[in-house]
């Protein structure tokens, strides 16, 4: 069975050296967008959105920019090389 991993604690698809954290799941949930809707808007398979959220795939720059544009936020709001602070923590 697929093991869900929090979006801000994801592991990179190619190991720790390529670790890219993302907040796609958070943004998607916040805006009530389903995986299929997001996938259709981005022109990717819905499983790809799932793998992105689970941190098993790191997107190309083009796809990352497309995702940021879809949510109308700067790309660094969605992706980071460092883990995103947990909601409610002092850093957030």
């Amino acid at each position: 069975m697929a093991r869900p991993v929090p979006a801000d604690r994801n592991k990179g698809g190619d190991g720790d050296k390529d670790l890219v954290h993302n907040r796609i799941a958070v943004l998607r949930a916040e805006r009530g967008v389903s995986r299929r809707e997001l996938a259709a808007a981005l022109g990717v398979h819905y499983q790809t959105v799932g793998y992105l959220e689970r941190g098993e795939y790191s997107p190309s720059l083009h796809l990352a920019l497309q995702i940021a544009e879809y949510f109308q936020v700067p790309v660094e709001v969605v992706f980071s090389l460092r883990p995103f602070p947990l909601i409610g923590s002092a850093a957030s």
Binding site: M1, A2, R3, R28, A29, G32, V33, S34, R35, R36, G43, V44, H45, Y46, Q47, T48, G50, Y51, E53, R54, E56, Y57, P59, S60, H62, L63
Partner: protein, 177 residues
Amino acid sequence: MTTPRTKREERLLTVLQAEVPSRYATQGGRRNLVRAGIACLALFYVSAVVCWELAPSDTAMYTTFACDGIGIVAGGILLGQMLVVSRGTTRLPDHLLDERQALEKLRAHSSAHRLTVILLFVAMFAIELGMSRGGDHSPSAAVLVTFVALLVTVVALPLLVITWRMPDPIPDEDDEL
């Protein structure tokens, strides 16, 4: 971009993008499918070995028909399952794949190519051995059957590789939103 250009491509995408059967949702299930596929491929090599040893003879002929027949039927069914499990990633044209799938396809073909090179070297030495043992009278049927085995393997390898390496599919959580 996954944009179908024809009705046929649209139908193909609908079939291949359906949910993966639950028995293949786990790595164990998928790898068992690959093992079964390898067993089917092995049948082609069994018939090749039998041909090298016994051809020309009725035993070699019946064994070849039986092994290759079972291999084609069972292997065809299994490869069909793998196609569904891998969502056609190795077979669909590039314009129907997104960037992740295109990368997976590339990796699968790359690994399959390496395995094919190794296999061809092994086959070359095996055929050389078979021909030297057979002297001047090497059975042509054996060469043909060996070639068929290699051909089937080369066709099936990318699908076997991608099914073996596939990560678990993400459960559809759309209903939760």
